[in-house]
Symmetry: C2
Subunit: 198 residues, 2 copies
């Protein structure tokens, strides 16, 4: 089973959407074939190990998105406020302002196989580290920043889940506000003052 040729970006995007919207078990080969425009057997040309390998490829993509569009920005140049805003914009795009699901969350509880699971964990880890960086810069102590990051990622995942359940994007918007608040000002956290911007 040699690696075969790398599938195109369009193919990966199509697979990504199907897995995100239908989950691992809910995504049938017919769905994946239809979405990519490739015949069943063509899919097996690019992914000889089948569905699990497709999930892995899609999770690798998710991981690289987080690395490049979240983590890299978090640790990059510019003011804290600018970087936070940029990340929020990116997330708003990815999650359609809270109306779309998250691939990672959707696959987290699925039998995707060990290799794919590792990518899932790495993606979450990279994400958490990105937020942790921002929290540290906002003045939080090391252990606090770590906890904040984990809790915030959890909160976002839960917010997307709740949106899927009842259509309410309130929790999603407030999670984004909470991220924005990291850049409010470094020393003192404003007490109340509900979000006016955004």
């Amino acid at each position: 089973m040699r690696p075969a040729q790398a599938p195109s970006s369009e193919i990966l995007d199509a697979l990504f959407s199907v897995f995100r919207d239908h989950g691992f078990e809910g995504a049938s080969l017919s769905d994946l074939s239809r979405a990519t425009g490739l015949g069943r057997s063509s899919l097996y040309h690019y992914f000889p190990e089948g569905k699990e390998q497709m999930a892995k490829a899609v999770l690798e993509r998710a991981r690289s998105i987080i690395d490049n569009d979240v983590r890299a920005i978090a640790t990059g140049t510019g003011t804290l406020k600018t970087r936070v805003r940029k990340i929020i914009t990116t997330l708003d795009q990815i999650y359609a302002s809270g109306h779309s699901g998250c691939l990672l969350g959707r696959l987290a509880t699925s039998p995707i196989g060990a290799p794919a699971r590792l990518d899932l964990q790495l993606a979450f880890a990279s994400w958490i580290e990105a937020i942790e960086t921002l929290a540290r810069e906002s003045g939080q102590a090391a252990s606090d920043a770590r906890a904040f990051a984990e809790d915030w990622v959890a909160r976002l995942q839960g917010a997307l889940l709740l949106q899927a359940a009842n259509g309410d994007v309130g929790p999603y918007n407030r999670a984004m506000d909470a991220l924005q608040d990291l850049a409010r000002d470094v020393s003192s956290a404003g007490k109340k003052a509900p979000s006016a911007t955004r």
Copy 2:
């Protein structure tokens, strides 16, 4: 299709576990049959409309658990502290201290059919209202309490999801701590002071 006899509590428990652990699409009739000890035909005796009806029954059960063991306690007698602690104990049992998944979260994104989906939404609503009650009693303003409740439920769901992804129960424990903090003292929220109890 007359109602038939109501399925026993044990049967519902078995179905509950399978759906919670494998999701809707991941739970096959063979799985459900094996777990309940009932043959396919017996399952269809109790649930003539099939799998979706099983999911609905299990969600009704989840809803009644939330109504009776969370919401009723939240609005019941006793000090705020006592009630919060009791609810945390119950949740710790249900979620095996954060090591088990949540049925609601697992089914939230599945094609379970409209009737079952309604029960899912009602269960979440009841849960949120329970937490909202506690938040109100802790001194939060009405709209703040509502937002707190939604955000907290989202946070818990995300914490369970993250645990499923990487095995870390940190977010779950901190979510419980945050709930506990509602009963710290009614007027002023302690500034730092990481959780020593629990």
